[in-house]
């Protein structure tokens, strides 16, 4: 049935409708009704969920998706690693380099002023996107990893002391664990890990058990890149603040997929990366409450981060400049701004709703594959699951599965430990395969992926 629905949603007229993304942004309801009329004319079905169309209506914005890989139509299911970029982002970057490429905060000439304006506008767009109260709370970094390292080297070394405790979960990304191990080693702080409960997700109750007056920092993911589970982050923040600890949220897997409101979450710090949310690589950001940022020392010295420089000393500038030494990634920041425009045009709630449906469909479809083990929670009305599934198939290495899927079916998935080795050890596996979706994926692609996976499993089992 779903296959039929998917097929019915593929008339060329959709491509025409989405030819102008700007029009879509300014008038989403128009598209929605247009889509429905196509539905009605082809299937004569009443009132299908409008979000079902999102994958088809946005695909045309992503030129890269329309290609063959190894002789098969590309099915890109590695979005948790990086997302694809819509034409609007590509054009914004090209336009920057063609029209006003210049260094920022440096020259008084026209191009520099324009570049500065656009660069700072991008910062405002990020702030608005996550509802930060002030764009000065957004520090541009190379990526989320650098944002966490910046935090660890600045706030961590300044504030953590011998015997202080830091709470993480075993499901954290290496980009959290490695810098915190370094920080703990330098400061004498102790890392405490929340483990998984019997349902295979981080044990929320353990947060409360681990927290004490010794706790100075809670640094955790919002959505797990391997399990697809989400932490009740607002509760975690309340518990942490109750004991006087601050919280950094690794929001790399949530900011691209849902409405994230830093004021509502009330986290002290939050990081995310551009490339997972339709923006270019080479840029991410650290959000921090301004009173925290203004009390933190810089990590890198250089141009832009200084107030006054003398031969024997210098004073540093206020945030965000304090943390952005040297020429920043101007074109990338502008590209990120364009990505935010694009996502906002669709609507993050709409993207989230669509992905919740896709997540459920992916999970249920994968469950039909013989010998499969899917990690993380089963999605339900009460249990959120991100649109990604890490899995293993009995007696077949996930990398072999990924290789075969790529070579024979043009399906791009991730295999390995997804930069979460400790979590894999807890789950007693060395590696897993992961299919991760974004709003431009469709149910039809999931059907084709499942078909390809079944073929892959049959192939390898035939060699046993």
């Amino acid at each position: 049935m779903m296959m039929q629905v998917a097929m019915a949603l593929k008339p060329p007229s959709f491509r025409i409708l989405r030819k102008n993304p700007q029009r879509f942004r300014t008038s989403p309801t128009r598209i929605r009704y247009a889509s429905l009329s196509v539905w009605a004319s082809t299937e004569s079905l009443a009132d299908p969920p409008p979000s079902l169309f999102l994958g088809y209506s946005t695909r045309t914005d992503f030129p890269i998706l329309h290609q063959e890989v190894n002789g098969s139509k590309l099915i890109y299911l590695d979005n948790a690693a990086t997302s694809q970029k819509p034409s609007a982002v590509l054009k914004a970057i090209q336009y920057y380099y063609e029209s006003y490429n210049s260094n920022v905060h440096r020259g008084i000439h026209y191009l520099s002023a324009r570049a500065t304006e656009e660069y700072e506008l991008a910062r405002k767009k990020v702030a608005s996107f996550i509802n930060a109260s002030d764009s000065r709370e957004i520090i541009f970094t190379r990526n989320a990893t650098e944002a966490i390292n910046l935090f660890a080297l600045s706030w961590g070394l300044q504030n953590l002391k011998q015997g202080d405790e830091v709470i993480l979960t075993v499901a954290e990304h290496h980009s959290v664990i490695a810098p915190m191990l370094d920080t703990a080693k330098k400061t004498g702080a102790v890392l405490k890990y929340v483990s998984l409960n019997e349902d295979g997700v981080p044990d929320v109750n353990m947060f409360k058990q681990l927290m004490s007056t010794k706790t100075k920092l809670v640094i955790v993911h919002h959505v797990s890149n391997m399990l697809g589970s989400a932490l009740p982050i607002e509760d975690v923040v309340v518990w942490a603040h109750d004991v006087g600890a601050i919280v950094l949220v690794d929001a790399c897997q949530s900011v691209p997929h849902m409405v994230v409101d830093v004021q509502k979450i009330n986290a002290d710090f939050l990081v995310a990366s551009s490339h997972k949310m339709c923006g270019p690589t080479g840029i991410g950001f650290l959000y921090g409450k301004y009173h925290h940022l203004s009390a933190m020392p810089p990590v890198l010295g250089g141009g832009e981060m200084v107030a006054d420089v003398f031969l024997d000393h210098y004073t540093y500038a206020d945030p965000p400049s304090r943390f952005e030494a040297g020429t920043p990634a101007i074109g990338e920041a502008i590209g990120l701004g364009a990505a935010i425009d694009y996502l906002s045009g669709i609507g993050m709630q709409r993207i989230h709703d669509y992905e919740v449906e896709l997540a459920k469909y992916l999970y249920e479809s994968l469950g039909t594959v013989p010998g499969i083990r899917i990690y993380g929670p089963a999605p339900s009305e009460n249990v959120y699951r991100a649109a990604l599934c890490s899995f293993n198939v009995e007696n077949i290495h996930p990398t072999d599965i990924a290789t075969f899927l790529d070579q024979q079916h043009g399906v791009a998935i991730r295999s390995g430990h997804h930069c979460a080795q400790p979590l894999h050890r807890v789950l007693d596996v060395n590696a897993s395969a992961r299919a991760s979706l974004y709003f431009y994926n469709t149910r039809e692609e999931i059907d084709n992926f499942i078909h390809a996976l079944n073929d892959t499993v049959s192939f390898f089992n035939s060699f046993k």
């Binding site: 490695a178 370094d182 077949i396 990398t399 290789t403 070579q407 060395n430 060699f463």
Partner: protein, 281 residues
């Protein structure tokens, strides 16, 4: 399943090449029959060379050159190999490389290349569980590969490897077929780029942290160099300083990146084409 050595040649050998003449002469001495393996029948169209290495398991070094590793050289049947040292068997590493590349080049379909690799994986002798230890790990981000390297009394390199991935195991099997029993300098001369045409999985050209070909080959070369230095009375270099970097903080954490060290400083390397050209002179 027939477990004896099976080498099938076709009429498509390039007779102008002295190398292939030598090889052909050698193979003509072997029993020629179709492999019982299922994939053989699928590639009749352009099959010009199929090496079935099913009998590797039975091969062993001469007792005159004992090695702690269970040595094998799949290019030769056990009874032949047993009688003569490897240096005189005529199949030098460059020959084997050429054969392997020709073999995979002849397979147009990616599926057939995967099948061939899985075949090679299947014939890699069972690996001792006790050797699956951290010291033997070739660090790659996607699969686990274990590698043991020794130098035998005649100064030849002996390799054993295993992986939890069948495809990676196939890569190991091919590398071992080419390099097991080779001289250290032959091991050093092998270049990952030469394996480009095997073209299964990740493109060999990609200098990626998940490139098993490159990971295993570089590991073989580094450990070979260390053993050569050790035998020469020099202190061996620190092995794999980057890929296997372990940062201990009470609880240990493996470094996230599997960075590739700068290529070893090796004797001037010849490209495959240069070697081919030399061989045909």
């Amino acid at each position: 399943m027939n477990s004896s050595s099976t080498i099938t040649t076709s009429t498509h050998f390039h007779s102008s090449s002295s190398c292939t003449k030598i090889l052909r002469k050698r193979y003509d001495n072997y029993e020629t029959r179709h492999s019982a393996l299922k994939f053989n029948a699928e590639n009749e169209k352009n099959k010009f060379l199929i090496l079935s290495l099913k009998s590797i398991k039975n091969y062993g070094f001469s007792p005159k050159s004992p090695s702690k590793l269970h040595a094998r050289n799949p290019s030769l049947p056990a009874e032949v190999e047993f009688e003569r040292p490897l240096e005189t068997d005529g199949l030098v590493v460059a020959d084997k490389l050429q054969l392997l590349v020709l073999e995979f080049k002849s397979l147009d379909e990616p599926l057939d290349r995967v099948k061939r690799l899985l075949h090679y994986a299947a014939i890699l002798p069972p690996y001792d569980e006790s050797a699956r230890v951290a010291e033997n790990r070739v660090v790659g981000c996607a699969t686990q590969v274990w590698l043991e390297v020794e130098m035998d009394d005649l100064g030849r390199m002996r390799f054993r490897a295993d992986s939890d991935s069948e495809i990676s195991k196939g890569f190991c099997s091919c590398l071992i077929w080419m390099l097991d029993g080779a001289k250290p300098e032959e091991v050093s001369e092998m270049r990952a780029e030469d394996l480009e045409h095997v073209n299964v999985g990740l493109y060999v050209k990609a200098n990626s942290r998940v490139n098993t070909w490159q990971n295993v080959l570089i590991s073989m070369q580094k450990r070979t160099k260390a053993l050569v230095m050790e035998r020469g009375g020099k202190n061996p270099p620190l092995l794999e300083p980057l890929p296997s970097l372990i940062v201990n903080h009470g609880s240990s954490a493996e470094a996230q990146g599997c960075l590739f060290p700068t290529r070893l400083v090796l004797p001037e390397l010849q490209t495959f084409d240069e070697r081919q050209s030399l061989m045909s002179k």
